[in-house]
């Protein structure tokens, strides 16, 4: 996956913590929400694997921006920026699974 700045994306609406022990770096409040890639920050070994002593997959890490009101209905018109690994990102507009 190679996403350029400005690419519209959606974060997967997945809840792996419901299925057993995991270590996840995608905050709950962006899951299923749409945002915009700001930039590719680099490629890093998946902390979710390292935390469980598995051989880590390499993940591309992106800075993704969201409008705060798209995350919280009561929020002001400000912005949120968060690091998201590629395996949590899907193309915007894709139908919900």
């Amino acid at each position: 996956m190679n996403l350029g700045p400005g690419t519209a994306v959606r974060i997967k609406d997945a809840w792996p913590e419901a299925d057993g022990p995991v270590h996840v770096r995608t905050p709950h409040y962006v899951r299923g929400r749409s945002g915009t890639v700001v930039r590719h920050l680099g490629d890093f070994p998946d902390p979710g694997d390292i935390a469980f002593e598995r051989k880590p997959a390499m993940r591309s890490l992106y800075h993704v921006a969201f409008r705060l009101p798209d995350l919280f209905p009561d929020a002001t018109g400000d912005e949120l920026l968060v690091e998201i690994y590629d395996h949590w990102i899907e193309a915007a507009g894709r139908a919900q699974a």
Partner: protein, 194 residues
């Protein structure tokens, strides 16, 4: 004694003595780590900020690659997470939080402050940043966008605040004295008269 219920100080002492006996750690190594950690304080970050305010080339390099720029300025970064620097401008004000844990740019700011690790700060900043900043008496004008940066993964983020008005001609040393850890996380803004 149930290990999970042991009082924390005794747990630390028991663990340390076991590990020392096995030759896995030593008191000297622990002392050396403590000394290195103490040496990283907000003064490091303040020095970086003041240099960025007075040296446009350094500012460019700092924003493009925080890790390389602070290494150039003498901060030890090897083996540490990469550093990203977010610039406050007249259009955007950055504030950093770690909602999942306590990720903090320790190389340049030292130990994270108590409030940074608190549930209130972690929960509220992403939902009501203006309300959180108000706890510090910080008011950002309506026409300035707040950008909340949730530090969740491999980077550590530091804010480059705006240089306060009324500091024209000040030395980098005098400017560095104005900059606090809270300015470099974005909950406050440096002022010429503290």
């Amino acid at each position: 004694m149930n290990v999970r219920e042991a009082e924390s100080g005794r747990l630390l002492a028991a663990l340390t003595s076991l590990l020392s006996e096995r030759g896995l750690i030593s008191d000297d190594e622990l002392a050396a780590r403590m000394a290195i950690t103490e040496s990283a304080s907000p003064k490091q970050g303040a020095r970086i900020v003041a240099r960025a305010w007075t040296d446009p080339g350094f500012r460019e390099r700092l924003l493009a690659d925080g890790t390389a720029a602070v290494e150039e300025a003498g901060v030890f970064m090897r083996g540490l997470p990469p550093l990203g620097v977010l610039e406050n401008t007249s259009e955007v004000h950055n504030v950093v939080v770690c909602t999942l844990c306590s990720c903090y740019p320790r190389a340049v700011l030292g130990y994270p402050p108590f409030w940074f690790k608190s549930p209130g700060y972690r929960a509220r900043t992403v939902r009501d940043p203006r309300g959180v900043l108000a706890e510090w008496g910080t008011a950002i004008p309506e026409d300035v966008r707040i950008r909340v940066v949730d530090s969740t993964a491999d980077y550590r983020w530091m804010v480059l605040p705006m240089r306060p008005a009324g500091t024209e001609g000040w030395s980098a040393e005098a400017l560095a004295d104005l900059v606090r850890d809270s300015d470099m996380i974005g909950v406050t803004q440096p002022k010429a008269s503290l």
